[in-house]
């Protein structure tokens, strides 16, 4: 499948946005200048790819790495791009790691939640201090609170029951 020639252009809307954000407010860029910048950017991509590839082949390797791209900036005559690119690279790698960690943490949290739910189901009244630690979400302490009130309520009810019993006996006594 051969690519269409327009597939090798960068989207004009994105290029125009970058142009706008690079300049102070109120600066006007003519239409043909914007188009020229877009074309120049496409050629820059190709130029960077070719230059990075030269680094790769000069070291008798096959796969283009991030380091090769950084080195290519130097041979292309844009060494001042290297530092901001390195910063971006670090943040990019961290972002990727963070994403992985986040996914792993979520998975772990889910498993723990499931486990704690299972233990709750098995033992009706588990030790209250231990369960909030194991389950990271706040839902489980909330779930527990009605149970706590259920445990407490018989105590509250028992005094109320005795007067009724007493009154029952009293009424029984009255009828007698």
């Amino acid at each position: 499948m051969a690519e269409q020639p327009e597939d090798l252009n960068l989207p004009a809307s994105v290029v125009n946005k970058i142009i706008k954000e690079s300049l102070p407010d109120g600066v006007i860029v003519s239409k043909d200048a914007k188009i020229a910048v877009g074309r120049a950017a496409s050629v820059f991509v190709l130029y960077a790819a070719t230059s990075a590839n030269q680094v790769v082949t000069s070291q008798k390797r096959k796969t283009m790495t991030g380091q090769d791209v950084l080195k290519a900036m130097d041979t292309m005559g844009f060494p001042e791009f290297i530092n901001p690119l390195k910063e971006y690279f670090e943040v990019f790698k961290k972002g990727k790691e963070r994403k992985k960690e986040d996914a792993a943490r979520k998975k772990r949290a889910k498993e723990l939640e499931k486990e704690s739910q299972e233990t709750e189901e098995r033992a009706f009244s588990p030790p209250l201090e231990a369960s909030p630690k194991s389950s990271p979400k706040k839902s489980s302490p909330i779930k527990k609170s009605p149970r706590k009130s259920v445990q407490n309520s018989p105590k509250k009810r028992s005094p109320s029951k005795s007067p009724s019993k007493a009154s029952a006996t009293a009424s029984a006594m009255e009828t007698d």
Partner: protein
């Protein structure tokens, strides 16, 4: 939560898929590592930023950037040589006729 400058640094505006397609269109590139594509995308963003700011410095009033300002940079600075055919200077028809006449003379000489 990431702080705002960090987020801006990490964000790529150019589409990675399109960058990869342009990179692959070169017959020389064999195997493109995963991390090299976003790096080249980011470099291209820096390049656009750099080029348009340079053009603004060359502009006559500091408010309007024209094609001529870009062409001036490309033709005048060595490291933009790779763009010479992409952003050529515009010439008048009169200049064009003169150029053609000159090249005809040049061809006659040998």
């Amino acid at each position: 939560m990431a702080s705002d400058p960090e987020k801006k640094q990490r964000e790529l505006m150019l589409p990675v898929s399109r960058i990869r397609m342009i990179m692959k269109s070169s017959p020389e590139t064999e195997s493109i590592g995963q991390e090299s594509v976003p790096l080249i995308a980011k470099a291209t963003e820096l390049f656009i930023q750099h080029l348009i700011r340079k053009a603004l410095l060359r502009s006559k009033d500091g408010q309007h950037v024209t094609y001529g300002d870009l062409a001036n940079i490309v033709q005048g600075i060595e490291r933009y040589e790779f763009l010479q055919d992409i952003v050529p200077s515009k010439i008048t028809y009169q200049q064009y006729l003169e150029m053609m006449a000159k090249s005809e003379v040049d061809e006659d000489i040998p």
